[in-house]
């Protein structure tokens, strides 16, 4: 398989069969907290796509051009997390400048991306699986899009749920959301035969 084709495969696998949220269950806290409304979920989803794509690229370069040559791979956790934190700050500044509405809607949740484990997870999986630059980029973007699709789908379901379902009292809120996430994960597993990545 050529490299381009492999990267293409990784991209789709990251969105569907190996969805970082629904198969690895990473990034759950903001997934549960911000999936109440479609508009906010879409905003946070897009922020995650942007941050994940950019941080995967930067972290790939950092890993292969600094950490590996100087033999300080063991510092990858702290190095990756600093890059992510700085990037989220940047995104926050930009969003605040560009759109009052988006800033108001995301508000206090935006700094949550810093501690969103899905973003660190994507960077770590990428180097563990020894992706090339192109595949790493595809994986980062794919994982971000996969996370965004999952949270947007969940927001859609929760909006409908609020309108017409009688959820048993003991299951309201996080309870029913986790049950739905489980069923969504089963549905995504249906794609598993199509592509697999390691």
């Amino acid at each position: 398989m050529t490299e381009g084709l492999f990267a293409f495969g990784v991209f789709f696998a990251a969105i569907f069969t190996n969805n970082i949220l629904l198969t690895n269950y990473l990034g759950m806290c903001s997934f549960l907290a911000v999936s109440k409304e479609l508009k906010t979920s879409f905003g946070l989803g897009m922020a995650v796509v942007f941050v994940m794509t950019c941080t995967s690229v930067i972290n790939w370069l950092l890993y292969h051009y600094i950490l590996v040559p100087y033999d300080i791979v063991y510092l990858r956790f702290i190095a990756f997390i600093i890059v992510i934190a700085a990037f989220v700050q940047l995104v926050e500044l930009v969003i605040e400048r560009l759109s009052d509405a988006l800033y108001a809607a995301l508000g206090i949740f935006l700094p949550l991306i810093t501690v969103n484990c899905a973003i660190l997870g994507a960077s770590l999986f990428m180097v563990i699986r020894e992706y090339t630059f192109l595949s790493g980029l595809a994986y980062g973007a794919g994982s971000g899009i996969g996370w965004a699709i999952a949270i947007i789908a969940m927001a859609g379901i929760r909006t409908k749920l609020n309108m017409r379902s009688k959820v048993p009292f003991g299951l309201t809120g996080a309870g029913i959301t986790l049950v739905i996430a489980g069923i969504m994960a089963l549905a995504f597993m249906g794609f598993a035969g199509m592509i697999t990545i390691t």
Binding site: A79, A86, E96
Partner: protein, 367 residues
Amino acid sequence: MLSSFLIAVIAMCGLATFLAVLMVIADLTVGNYGEVKITINEETEMTVEGGKPLLSTLMGEKLFIPSACGGRGSCGFCKVKVVSDIGDYVATELPWITEEEKKENIRLSCQIKVKKDLAIQIPEELFNVKEYRTRVERLRDLTYDIKEVTLKLIDPPEIKIRAGQYIQFQTPEYELSSESVYRAYSCSSVPSRKDTVELEIRLVPNGICTTYIFQYMKEGDEVTINGPYGEFYLRDTDAEIVFIAGGSGMAPIKSILLDMAEKGIDRKATYFFGARTTRDLFLVDEMRELEKRLPRFSFVPALSAPTEEDKWTGESGLITEVLDKHLKEGNKVEAYLCGSPGMIDASVGVLTKKGLPEQLIFYDKFA
């Protein structure tokens, strides 16, 4: 071995420095909103540097919106009406804003940032709030954790306070805080002494402002305050009064009582003061003195956990139990409360249970 350590340290420092420089550049470009204009009450205009919260921006222009928490979004006092469009409410504002206030676009000024030209409306009297330079005249220990601070005004030399109002104390930059912060304290002095402001301050463990006052501030130091603020003052009626306070909540009540004594306001009044042990009681002699000056006033201190050594013969029990015992059902009194949120909520509960309507309950919550 040493070189691998060095490489690791240099690499991490390099990375951190690079990102820090990036952040500084972003702050100066993307985060730089230039100069913006704020129009107040359609007449006053001021040009300010954009990008900071409205509350601190106005404070920089010597216009003081009341705030007890110093801009952390935890007191809900600093509301202003924003006339121009400033976008949706942010999540941190919503707990303090009612549905009616939403229709008027009343915003929490510490949570909204000044990013473009703004038009706001504030009560006229806030223009009377001023900043005062003062000198610490006296520091006196009232209990092991409450200090009386007497401030002598330098410039302007006189302040006009209503008994019960509060001021904001500016803590300068010092070892424990890299920026100056504001905290609100009620005045305990009698308003007729226009050149002096007296505060009663309880040490908050690790509190930025109280640690400064207790451990760093000395007699003769210069400090800055601003004010006065607050709606906590004696209403002009003939109704019987119930005062309820605990700890440093003594301050505004003492001011009101002194003011009553001076003006000869003769109303039936009972002052319930809650403390744990005699160690937490203070100014009892002053209160007994006031009982002589105000014939229908009585001071009822209550200890919640008196020890053997206290040899306490007065009221004991939680302040709510003492209230429950003394208050008559359906008695139309005015209640003035000052103390911790827990004490106030519990006391308001007892008062409403006794049939006192909420309009007759006035309080100052220390958040």
